[in-house]
């Protein structure tokens, strides 16, 4: 054990004095964490700026009741940062002036004149149509085959009522409501804004025209937990950089120490190959914990991270560090040249980072990417960390932990076989 600790000690000291190693193991992941959490939102979901011009006003210049309700619903979603444009002005030039000389992107939603009355009429028309359908069904209904429910007289009376309804419906002649959304084609969020508006108006009109349920957009019902964007990125970044730190760390240390005769020198002491391997893996595990702790410390202190690591997360960090140490040993064992081994470790690490959903979810990726992703060991480390940290269902990490531990055993065994201690 004394010898194993000596190996851990020498590895950590050596690591702490190589600036690039410290940068890529700790500072770089921290930088990414800060950038990601800033760019992709802090505590709240993104809120899109939106100008609204309401043309549905009465003679006194006040908004119609229906348009007021619609605007309140838009506001209540928190999806938009709404500025109103007065009815009597040119919406485009008003928005431009509002944004100011520096320009920028603006989106304008125009609520047309008659929005409220058209909705009411639409609702009436809809109900007439429902009543008509009911009448038709009633007329055709039979008590038993060949025996109708209604007698002939009753049927005639009802048909007369139906004709009166048809007349009323024809007079209503409701119009289709046209909301207008103006946005610049170069506005990359334009489509997103359009989709949100579409779903809000659908719910709004269904709510009105349907069975009269109250309309509400409860944001809580969309979000299952109260974590922020940074809570999502944190496990991904920790997983990705546990991988890169350990793979690159072991590969470069083993190839450099072998080339410079340091492994030979150590093999001339009573230190055994097993002790060297255990010490190297242990050192990388310690580094993985340092990385995890620093990321969490900054996350808690600066970024408002709320996730707290549990034992499963600790186990995932250990299994992940062992797994990727094994992979590093394997690379260093197969490729003796320092430069080539480092190139190989980067060639394995970088694509794996992007294909394992470390930086962005792969739900929208093509199927073959998702299949590849399922074959990558990093995927399970990150899945395990996410399950353990933010799912509200930490037991979900157990499968990932089992897969990662299994792969760790395989990689360490193969890595150990390729790590030579004595010469031939």
């Amino acid at each position: 054990m004394r010898k194993v600790i000596a190996v851990v000690d020498l590895t950590l000291r050596n690591w702490s004095r190589i600036r690039s190693a410290v940068f890529f193991s700790i500072l770089f992941p921290l930088m990414l964490l800060l950038i990601f959490s800033t760019v992709f939102g802090g505590d709240n979901d993104p809120s899109f700026s939106l100008f609204v011009q309401n043309l549905d006003i009465d003679e006194d210049g006040g908004s119609s009741d229906m348009s007021k309700v619609f605007l309140e619903i838009l506001n209540s979603t928190d999806a938009f940062d709404i500025s109103e444009i007065p009815a009597g002005v040119n919406a485009n030039s008003f928005a431009k002036d509002e944004i100011g000389p520096l320009g920028g992107v603006y989106r304008i939603l125009i609520i047309p004149e008659g929005f409220g009355s058209d909705i009411v009429l639409g609702a009436v028309e809809n109900r007439i149509s429902v009543t008509q359908n009911t009448i038709q069904m009633l007329l055709q209904e039979e008590r038993s085959p060949g025996v109708p429910i209604l007698d002939q007289q009753e049927k005639e009376q009802i048909a007369a009522g139906g004709a009166a309804l048809d007349n009323a419906a024809g007079e209503i002649a409701s119009k289709k409501i046209h909301l207008v959304l103006v946005f610049d084609p170069s506005d990359t969020s334009g489509q997103v804004v359009y989709s949100i508006l579409l779903s809000i108006t659908d719910s709004f009109s269904n709510g009105l025209i349907g069975v009269g349920e109250s309309i509400s957009f409860d944001r809580e019902s969309v979000s299952q937990y109260t974590f922020s964007a940074v809570d999502y990125y944190l496990p991904g970044l920790i997983g990705a950089f546990i991988m890169s730190t350990t793979v690159v760390g072991i590969t470069s240390q083993n190839t450099e120490f072998r080339k410079r005769g340091i492994i030979k020198r150590l093999s001339l002491t009573p230190l055994s190959r097993l002790e060297w391997i255990v010490g190297s893996v242990l050192a990388q595990t310690v580094l993985a914990f340092i990385l995890t702790l620093v990321m969490f410390a900054v996350g808690w202190a600066v970024l408002g991270v709320t996730a707290v690591p549990n034992l499963l997360v600790v186990a995932m960090v250990i299994a992940g560090a062992i797994q990727f140490s094994g992979l590093g040993m394997l690379i260093a064992g197969m490729i003796k040249d320092i430069e080539s081994a480092n190139a190989a470790s980067n060639a394995i690490v970088l694509p794996m980072m992007f294909l394992s959903g470390a930086f962005f979810p792969l739900d929208a990726a093509p199927e073959f990417i998702r299949i590849i992703s399922n074959l990558l060991p990093l995927k399970y480390l990150i899945d395990g960390l996410r399950f353990g940290l933010i799912s509200g269902f930490p037991e979900g990490a157990i499968i990932s932990l089992a897969i990662t531990s299994g792969l760790a055993a395989v990689f360490v065994i193969i890595g150990s076989i390729t790590t030579k201690w004595h010469e031939n």
Binding site: R2, D9, R17, I262, L268, T269, N424
Partner: protein
Amino acid sequence: MFISCFRRKRLNLSTIAIKVEGLVKVYGTIRAVDDVSFEINEGEIFAFLGPNGAGKTTTLEILQSLRKSTKGSVSVLGYDVSDNRDAQKLKKEIGVLPQDFNAIDKLTVKENLSVIAKMYDKHVDLKKLILTLDLEDKTNSKFEDLSGGLKQRLGIAGALVNDPRIVFLDEPTTGLDPRARRDVWQVIESLKKDGKTVFLTTHYMEEAEILADRVAIIHKGKIVAIGKTKTLLEKSGGGRTVILEDVPESIIKEIKNRFPKATIVGTDVRIQILKLKEVNEVISYLTKKGLEQSLQITRPSLENVFLRLTGVHLTEEGELT
């Protein structure tokens, strides 16, 4: 001074520290070590002298149980180096300065020594060891900042950290400037005083001549000569050579008659004297001729021994010409 930090051991030349019999190491079709046999007594400095690629390091690494032999038996301090358990025990009792020694660049002298020391159950006092090797000013310097000579001194310190019975030094002064080389020689000489057995390899004739009690000359994987350094010099060292420069032509003729085997190039004359008792006779003759001012005399050398035994010159770089 040097002795102080090590256990004193009684010098007993009759104990055999290393015994090698019929050692062969084959790589593919190359016989790197070809039927080598020798013994080293405890407490002596033994040198393997030969050019690069002669099989010096391969033999040494087999003795350290770092490589497996193809054939032959090797016993070091009574341990069979081909047996893994013996090898593990042996490692506790030997110290090694490998060829092209390097320590961890970013670690200091003290830290590097401490790394090696922690691998042993017992080790000598590191402060004393640092003092002994005159490294105290550099204790906190990183290995990468040391000069070549200091790096080698740290390497030797590392080889002594466990107070070993045998110290293997593989080309301890290669690449060092003359001054640094002499510093290292001093350290090696002091090891002998402490009763340690030293096995060193070198391609520097002077190094073997100055340091070694016994020398084995190795060439193409075979030992071509082995024995006490003095005996080898007397036997195959080419005797002494009298060198004369700017000799007048009249005297050159006389010298030609008197010493028919003398080598004469222009006005320069070289007379080889194989027997020690003839030296006085030659010198008194040359003094009578008034040549004592330009007279120089060289000693027998391992260079000559090497040349006579192998037919080739060994350069300072360890190459053959």
